[in-house]
Amino acid sequence: MTKYFHNSKPEMCKIIKIMEENEDTRTFSIKLPFTPKKPKPGQFVMLWVPGIDEFPIGVAGIKDQILELCVAKVGEGTKALFELEQGDLVGIRGFFGKAFRIKKSITHIIVGGGYGMPPLKYLIEEIIKGRTEQDEIFVFEGARTKEKLLYVELLEKWKKEKKIDFFPFTDDGSYGKKGFPTEGVKEYLNKDNEKSVVIYSAGPEKMMKILFDICKNYNHIIDIQMSLADRHMRCGFGLCGACVVDPEGLRICVDGPVFSREQLEKMDDFGNYSRLPSGKKEEI
């Protein structure tokens, strides 16, 4: 029988492994109380650091009962998480949100940066698993410097095994090409415009907005799916309204975080505004 993680109070789970990805990013392996119905790439959990804070984190992978979350230390809540050790408990609610929809027999272009990479890593794994002869996978990753690029070893390995093609970019040129991944995507799209393409992206919203504006001009791109994460959340299941984007009233937590081209086209807030916990609108 498939067991579900119900949308309920946090399930207490043990941290069984902590892996340093870089200076301020770690992967936490967390043992769930049972093997749940498998979450899809793009879905997220609300992670509770007992007594401190709760925040949304995308699923970076799952194997049976072991959930993988990759977290960047940015503020109070994530800092408190980094103080926890193997054996400590965290609370998990989920799985929430709309996932990436994997299309078949096409060119998959995956573009990410920062904490957009963990869900994309999981997405790439799933595309590889279900791929056909016709599927091609191109991964464009950007970061400020070499140290900030996530999953470089893994992605280079997949590249060597001819599972994907991988194009890293850094602002300072310390690894891969100097510049932004959006430029790499543009170059690719101008070169090859025969096959149907789906763009999948997660990362800083400004970067995704630039990418979206580039991609909307190409007819062979059949869908653009972007995961919006630079938003405050409270409930995670569509009740409180903290994560709403204008003007359609879509909620990042249930109508997203992954949105389609049609949804993004109408979303005036996308790349421009987010809301503070008070509800005040602020420029991104």
């Binding site: 609610r93 009740l239 709403v244 009233g249 909620r251 916990p277 008070s278 609108k281």
Partner: protein
């Protein structure tokens, strides 16, 4: 068949009103819920200054009892900024009720006067939020304060004033009477019930604010009882708006029979497809009216008191 209902001078296309604090921070989600088929929507409670509310965790669902517990508190951008959301709602002709809060008469006045020039339906005074230490509950449990605030607000606006009552009190009649004497146009019952939840493994309260309020299915019988009691006592004097745990069209009917002229729905709308839920509510209300050969909502109001 006519689903229209009247709450004093206000007429709505149907008795469904979106409760305050649920999807109420942006014009866009309020507009979305109205367009799904509601009769009107209520804003998040608005005060003077910007407030970020209480820390997370601040909302979660309790699956076993189909209910939610929250300690959002009075997170809001302040009335000066919220005006912008209201202007868009008015431009889109969304029947909007503005929920306001304050710690005393002066604070309530500033918010009310800061928004009153905009042509929305009416004000709802939140005298009853359990998630703040100063405002809300303290105000709503003191009959003298309730009387004075209602009276002063009523003097300052030509719009109807609805007073939202807390269930966290021994004698609701005293407070209701104070609101009526102060000139309230409708009584709204109920807000959330004081509640709390503790994780037995980390041995910590789960909510960031530790204490919170319960909403959803578990509180429906309590809301029904409040509305029934209020209608029995004051049904001739003032309309009542029922809130608490409504999760179907039949629950709406139950509140109408208890004495409500309209209802507010909160927790039940916080789901993936609120549009489907609204449709279902309307279908169920129509089905009941058809089966029971009821022509209009007014025939149902207080129908459980005919013994």
């Amino acid at each position: 068949m006519n689903l229209e209902t009247k709450i004093g001078k206000i007429t709505l296309r149907n008795p469904l009103i979106l409760a305050s604090g649920v999807l109420g921070s942006s014009y866009s989600s309020l507009n979305r819920i109205y367009n799904s088929g509601f009769g009107a929507v209520i804003t998040k409670s608005i005060g003077i200054d910007e407030r970020k509310g209480n820390p997370n965790p601040s909302v979660f669902f309790l699956h076993e009892i189909k209910s939610a517990i929250n300690s959002v508190g009075l997170a809001n951008p302040g009335y000066k900024l919220y005006r912008e959301e209201l202007k868009i709602l008015i431009e889109k002709e969304v029947p909007t009720i503005v929920s306001i809060f304050g710690g005393n008469i002066d604070e309530f006045s500033e918010v009310l006067e800061g928004l009153d020039d905009l042509p929305f339906l009416c004000f709802e005074l939140n005298l009853s939020c359990p998630n703040t230490e100063k405002e809300g509950l303290a105000v709503g449990t003191d009959p003298q304060l309730v009387y004075e605030i209602t009276k002063e607000m009523q003097k300052r606006t030509s719009k109807p004033i609805w007073v939202k009552l807390t269930p966290n009190i021994t004698d609701i009649f005293e407070i209701a009477e104070a609101a009526i004497k102060g000139g309230a146009s409708a009584l709204v019952a109920i807000n959330t019930l004081k509640a709390m939840i503790i994780d037995i493994y980390s041995k910590k309260p789960i909510l960031g604010f530790k204490r919170g309020g319960l909403s959803g299915a578990a509180i429906k019988p309590i809301g029904i009882r409040f509305v029934y009691d209020l209608f029995e006592r004051f049904g001739e004097t003032i309309p009542i708006v029922g809130v608490g745990g409504i999760n179907s069209g039949y629950d709406v009917i139950e509140y109408l029979l208890a004495g409500a002229s309209a209802v507010e729905v909160g927790t039940a709308i916080g789901i993936k497809y609120p549009e489907n839920k609204t449709n279902l509510f309307i279908q169920q209300i129509k089905k009941y009216m058809h089966e029971q050969k009821v022509e209009s909502i007014s025939e149902l109001i207080g129908g459980a008191h005919n013994d």
